[in-house]
Amino acid sequence: MFDAEAVFTQVRSAWLGPGPNSDIVVSSRIRLARNLVDLPFPSAAGKDALAEVLSRVRRASEHLPEARRYQFLELGRLSPLDRQVLIEKHLISPEHAREPEGRGVVLRDDETVSIMVNEEDHIRLQVLLPGLDLNAAWQLANRLDDSLEQQLDFAFDEKLGFLTACPTNLGSGLRASIMLHLPALVLLNQAGQVFTTLSQLGVVVRGLYGEGTQALGNFFQISNQLTLSQSEEDLISNLLALVGQVLEQERAARSRLYQEFGNRLVDMVWRAYGTLTSARILSGNEAMKLLSDVRLGVTLNLLPHVDLGTLNRLLVLTRPGFIQRVAGQQLPPAERDVRRAAIVREELLGKNK
């Protein structure tokens, strides 16, 4: 039975679980942009056209493999808090929620698949898997795209490929992103240089919640810049080759940190753990920073009793929207900070006693 409420009040997203290289890689995402051939793109569409897109995609989604696992949500009918939770879980984008009327999302029960309707393009199909697993994410996205395409006529041009509202997505319409935790590169002040090099190699680096967002908690998203003139498989394998080098550099930086600053590192990690398990007031930014330190400690075996999965869950549990949604009401920041501290203590201590 599908629990429609669970997505807003529980953190069971499959992508927060264990996966390949999860000491550094939180998740892998494939996003495909598609548009219907005979309707204006969302930014140029009126109310009726948006509603038509919603209803066509909704009908098409009823033919997806394992269709019973999906639910369709109209963003205009959700509360602002519900929408914020979906953003915090990376199931919709901040841009998608900006003008909720006429927007929708199709979600799979394990939160691995989300199909944003009327974001910048009519369809943004997203597959999100734990750890470094881009190829599996692409295979699933490809199958779901095939299924949608049996029901819908996509705008396509022989030369330009899939037509998108912005020319930066043309061709494959594919954006592959890896969410990485790079605390050691940041602590050693090497991150900026690594990112500059990456940008010269056709890779985009962004913060936790996409374009223009900050690098909260040393989490970064790395994705392909070009979308045309290469096959999906080539785009993915190019990105994977570069990500492989970033992983190597982060691992080297971690062991250098440990060797050169051993005591200070151990102290930083345990202080962070001490604060997280004792504090009665925690701001969102402080929680992210401390969770980053603890995460680094866990991967270096300095805090062997803490589980990475718990830390991943806390990435969502400590976000302001989720705290308020679970509380069932809007809360002023000061009150959120108190609740956040309680949630963190419960997750870290309650489970490891």
Binding site: V37, L39, P40, F41, S43, A44, E120, N142, D145, D146, E149, Q150, D153, F154, A155, F156, D157, E158, K159, L160, G161, F162, L163, A165, C166, P167, T168, L170, G171, S172, L174, V186, L187, A191, G192, F195, S199, V204, V205, R206, G207, E211, G212, Q214, A215, N218, Q225, L226, T227, L228, S229, Q230, S231, E232, D234, S283, N285, E286, K289, A334
Partner: protein, 181 residues
Amino acid sequence: MLCENCKKRPATVYVRRSINGVTTEAHLCEECARERGELNFLTGPSFTFPDLSLGSLFSSLLDHLPVAPGGSLLTGTTLRCPECGLTYGDFRERGRLGCARCYTTFREQLEPLIRRLQGGLRHAGKVPRRSGGALRVKHDLETLRRRLKEAVSREAFEEAARLRDEIRALEQKLKGGEGGV
């Protein structure tokens, strides 16, 4: 107790920091605390994000697009997409197209931009079965021809004959469907 900083709002945040053995305390309101960065607690080397985003590259390319489409004699008239009504000027301003037809309407203006942005103008990825039409058939034909060659070299003649029939059928379909897609 009032906030020590603005002395107007009630103090709700207590800040105590210990830096190199010197402890300082402050009672602040939330607003002032936020302003002073006390709610961030971010320590260690600060990290600034270099602006390497795709958006900035794209907008700098947009800025260099010619103001009027095609010849400059056309100033005053604006090229307009017959399907959605978007003008070339709208695109230059917003960076978003209005519909699939826009790509035909503004093809001449868009191609140099896309070439700069994407490093080429040849789709090499997936082709949809329905809207891909003739191109999809061509792709399928290529695959079948390659398999036929392999089958012949393996002397798997039964398979080769079957592949040859499939190829013929597809070739017929391509002839019949040409222009209609």
